[in-house]
Symmetry: C2
Subunit: 231 residues, 2 copies
Amino acid sequence: MAVEQLRSDGHEVRVSDLYAMGWKAHADAADFGAVTETNFMLASGEAFENGSLSADIRAEQEKLLWADTVLLHFPLWWFAMPAILKGWVDRVFTCGFAYGAGGSAIPRYGDGVLAGRRAMLVVAVGGREPAYSDRGINGPVADLLFPIHHGILYYPGMDVLPPFVVHGAIRVDDERFGRIADNLRKRLGELEHTEPIGYRRQAGGDYDRGLRLESGREEPGTTGFGLHIAS
Amino acid sequence: MAVEQLRSDGHEVRVSDLYAMGWKAHADAADFGAVTETNFMLASGEAFENGSLSADIRAEQEKLLWADTVLLHFPLWWFAMPAILKGWVDRVFTCGFAYGAGGSAIPRYGDGVLAGRRAMLVVAVGGREPAYSDRGINGPVADLLFPIHHGILYYPGMDVLPPFVVHGAIRVDDERFGRIADNLRKRLGELEHTEPIGYRRQAGGDYDRGLRLESGREEPGTTGFGLHIAS
């Protein structure tokens, strides 16, 4: 549905259906080809640099570079991505591509290899909205998604749009499905004009040398993940 | 090291080394054997009930029931579990075992199949501690671990001990490794006497029918995930 809508709006779309592709979920040294490094992280960086990453990983990196907008569709399982999608991140976001090792110069949090691109999550959540609200027992859905939004998508430079979250996804009748689909089509039609979440750039002067937010930068009373949203 | 220490303290230890086991990370219908349900979640519940879950999953469920304490050791990758461990959760914590479908009567958050057991994370974090502190750019490590602590371990009833977190794990020389190992041995020696994180039981009367925390239950100024800790 999303793909049809995007194509009818004139977008080119490339789909990575991880289950259909038989995506290998676990990262291991077989991903790297012939490398000399024995440290796992550095070996992934060496494989990136020398082009010996496995073909499935290189293809996904190339798709990310090709895209102007990246949509991740998934059900929230145990308050996080399903393993197969986490494995897409673990394997594709290699050292040298998405992050630098130690003191290396790859910028991050608002800058990086994917800067200039937009990203949006489309997430199906089994439980009802109140249980994921500010005082909900599962935690606020915005906080549950922060490690993905900020830690995975914004980290290598993507602007992150507010997510499209479907609550109560355990049971969706045809009538509600129709409304959800209409709302998603509307969001897809507005992708280029939607205001991203206003995360603070690491290089923007808000953080000290220990990468702590300088005091006084936030609205009084703001704590936790919310500190890293400037506006 | 942890295993040796626990055994020398008189504990019986069973280890699930997911990489060594060739653990299948992605959940799919092949996990369920012969079932009639077509809904994925309900099919996992049917497979649990009729004993047709794949043997690797049944073995892990049996280990969880056998244990009085569960330790999960992993490196934090992209601010979450590595895919192979997330796949252990996705596949082992089936419907009917760890959670009920819809209105079913399986209690959760402090009660459940694993009640009476203790759990502790042993987590290696690449970056330095200030970047994971209250104002750190990556978010507070306690908040990053909340979906695991509360959403995965406490959900089916386990008491969750404060985590053992090693920061700066990218580079650990022998001298620091020795200190880390000593600290971990100390924590392992205190497992039975360590105070768990004081999460609120769902059945404890703190939540309304929408599973929102009743107003006035928290210390003034507490927000987000912290609301769900009573003490």
